[in-house]
């Protein structure tokens, strides 16, 4: 039935327990739902450090069990794979990570991972055949197997490693790429090359991306849709233009206005926002988690968690939009 969706995240939560006998339940991801249609798109999950976006990405990749909810990839449950699904998932869904220097084992030659991918996912047992196959994605990112061979990760620059990481992820010709802060540790002068590569892969390669970032400017630059997270909850989600320019949720508004840009210099220097409070406390808040510092706080905000409202093309979890149609979770 859900064949038309590439990825569906339904009511996913991840609760970590800590404290005395794990009694404090810490919801790092708190009832998150979204879906991606089965056509090449870039969906950004944006939020500050500690908003749960990396936990969410690990859940989508099937490397972390959710405490509740399901993740469906092309209608199949990522966390309860049927026989054969597991191999299929790892060919269909690949990932790129934040720290290029840690992406490859420092004690091993970098090309090992390319050959492992060829052998395990593409079933290429023959060394020559595998080498030929590895060269293709490396050429795409502007390197060749000869440049990479017999070198340890510390012999490459961060930018190069990140590109090799992309090449490896491209080898099984995935349909979905999860990119967790892929450019935050890459120098500014090289950053755009990688983001342009993503755009290219989407348009020409038909690959969809889940782009996870704290940087709204790059998010705006490449994404079709964007979901803004705060303390484990998606507060606003929709087409990038409508979310980042429309700024429905007070948190989105705060984030966008705090972005330092030369053209907004005067307003930026005048603005006096309220700082976010203690992370742990906000995560544990049973009502709206942003209410503590929200400039638009109402009485309702500190008694009840807001539902998700459909405001034009955007979904917003904020009481300000009381009266708009409420989004319900379809089964």
């Amino acid at each position: 039935m859900s064949g038309e969706f590439l990825l569906e995240v339904k009511d996913v939560s991840k609760i970590f327990g800590y404290g005395f006998l794990g009694r404090v339940k810490f919801p790092a991801v708190d009832h998150v739902s979204f879906s991606m249609e089965d056509e090449p798109k870039i969906l950004t999950i944006a939020g500050e450090s500690g908003c749960g976006k990396t936990t969410l990405s690990r859940i989508i990749l099937g490397m972390l069990e959710p405490s509740g909810g399901v993740v469906l990839y092309k209608g199949r449950n990522v966390h309860a794979p049927k026989s054969g699904d597991k191999a299929w998932f790892s060919k269909q869904v690949q990932a790129i990570f934040q720290d290029p220097y840690d992406t490859f084992n420092p004690l091993k030659k970098t090309e090992t991972y390319l050959y492992e991918t060829a052998r395990n996912l593409l079933r290429l047992k023959d060394y020559k055949e595998a080498s030929k196959r590895i060269d293709e994605p490396l050429n795409f990112i502007g390197l060749s197997l000869d440049d990479v061979k017999n070198k340890y990760p510390n012999e490459f620059s961060g930018g190069e490693l990140q590109r090799i990481s992309i090449a490896r992820a491209l080898m099984p010709e995935p349909k979905l790429m999860v990119a967790d802060e892929p450019v935050s540790m890459v120098d500014a002068s090289l950053r755009m090359n990688i983001l342009n590569m993503f755009k290219d892969l989407k348009e020409k390669g038909g690959i969809s991306f889940v782009y996870i970032t704290h940087d709204l400017a790059t998010a705006y630059y490449i994404s079709d849709e964007i979901a803004v997270m705060y303390r484990g909850v998606i507060v606003e989600m929709g087409p990038a233009e409508d979310v980042l320019i429309g700024k429905h949720h007070p948190y989105t508004k705060g984030l966008v206005e705090a972005l330092p840009e030369y053209s907004k210099r005067e307003e930026w220097l005048r603005k006096r926002a309220k700082p976010p409070g203690m992370e742990v406390k906000e995560f544990l808040t049973p009502y709206c988690k942003y209410s503590d510092i929200c400039p638009n706080r109402m009485e309702k905000c500190v008694t009840e968690r807001p539902p998700i409202y459909n405001v034009d093309k955007v979904k917003v979890a904020c009481w300000l939009y009381d009266g708009y149609p409420v989004e319900t979770l379809q089964e």
Binding site: G19, F20, L21, K274, P275, G277, M278, V280, K281, D292, I293
Partner: protein, 347 residues
């Protein structure tokens, strides 16, 4: 309000902390006792008959058969072999352990083994607490100095000395000291607890005891202060010196002496206290040999005599009481720990 009051240490957090440490204390103690039970249960030989046979067949040994019978029953229960089913024998064993009823000692029959151990305990505790405190203080001081001047000659010499002393067990150090003070510079008495026999504790007796304890204490202090505590204090000092907060204190132009006191020393004391707790277990065992080698009349010497006469009642008493002692020491330090480390206090 974005105030931080929410994270103030609440009474409940404190109660929870104490409760969790107490639970842990009871649980480890219980598990340790159970492990001992399992160990003897799993032993392929009939320990008790073996021991009884060893004792009664010794040359010239004449024993009261009644005493032997009593001993046999005690041993069976203490080794978890009394009673019928394993559960039953386990319960009997637990009852024995938790009522401190280890039966009569064999070496001085019919004095209860417990009494024998308790009589020796002050000697051991006196030697250990003094030498441990001295060792710990000295080790930390020297370690901080060596860590601070790590590139200087003094630091290097200390490091060399430490590498040599660190791996040497206490008893070897004791033997080395005896070799040195017996042949090279014979000034210290080589053994015994005291050479003055007196009923009362006069000043003369006390001084005599201290005089006799000096060499044993030295054999505990030298490897500890220059090895174990020294090396960890030195490593921690070097780590703390490269921490951001120490660097930032230098950047702020704070004097070096102030940085060493308030930044380095204060921060290394936290892990060093854990080391202290951990080393208590090790020193207890180490001191046994020290006592044996110096013929010092403590618990270790008692265990030695018990081993030689196969007095397992007394040995079991020593084993279980030292478990209790170490567990309690760890527990007490656990409870004191939050006073040292604010990060734990507020968790």
């Amino acid at each position: 309000m974005t105030g931080i009051m929410a994270l103030r240490p609440s009474k409940r957090a404190l109660v929870e902390y104490i409760a969790s440490r107490t639970l842990f204390y009871v649980a480890t103690l219980f598990t340790a006792v159970t492990l001992t039970y399992v160990l003897f249960k799993a032993m392929p030989v009939d320990a008790v008959e073996n021991i009884i046979f060893g004792m009664t067949s010794a040359v010239g040994a004449v024993y009261d058969p009644k005493a032997v019978m009593q001993l046999r029953r005690d041993l069976y229960e203490l080794f978890g072999l009394g009673g019928g089913s394993p559960v039953e024998s386990y319960l009997v064993f637990l009852r024995r352990v938790f009522t401190f009823n280890f039966g009569p000692s064999f070496i001085s029959f019919p004095t209860p083994a417990l009494e024998l151990v308790l009589y020796r305990l002050p000697w051991t505790i006196g030697l250990l607490t003094t030498s441990t405190i001295v060792t710990w203080t000295l080790g930390n001081l020297l370690g901080v100095i060596a860590g601070y001047f790590r590139t200087g000659r003094f630091g290097r010499v200390l490091e060399g000395v430490a590498i040599t002393l660190y791996p040497i067990p206490y008893y070897i150090m004791a033997l080395v000291l005896i070799l040195v003070f017996a042949f090279l510079i014979p000034i210290f008495p080589l053994g015994g607890g005291t050479s003055v026999i007196a009923e009362e504790l006069t000043l003369e007796v006390i001084l005599n005891i201290i005089w006799h304890s000096l060499l044993p204490a030295l054999s505990l202090i030298i490897p500890g202060a220059l090895g174990w505590f020294f090396i960890s204090a030195r490593t921690l000092t070097m780590e703390t010196l490269s921490e951001d907060y120490t660097k930032y204190a230098q950047i702020r132009g704070l004097p070096e002496g102030h940085i060493i006191r308030r930044y380095v020393l204060k921060n290394i004391l936290v892990p060093q206290t854990t080391m202290l707790a951990l080393s208590l277990g090790g020193i207890f065992s180490g001191a046994i040999l020290t006592e044996v080698i110096f013929a010092y009349p403590g618990v270790g010497m008692l265990a030695y005599r018990a081993t030689f006469s196969g007095d397992l009642n007394t040995l079991m008493a020593v084993l279980l009481l030292s478990m209790l002692a170490v567990a309690t020491a760890v527990y007490v330090l656990d409870l004191l720990y939050p006073l040292l480390d604010p990060r734990i206090r507020h968790r």
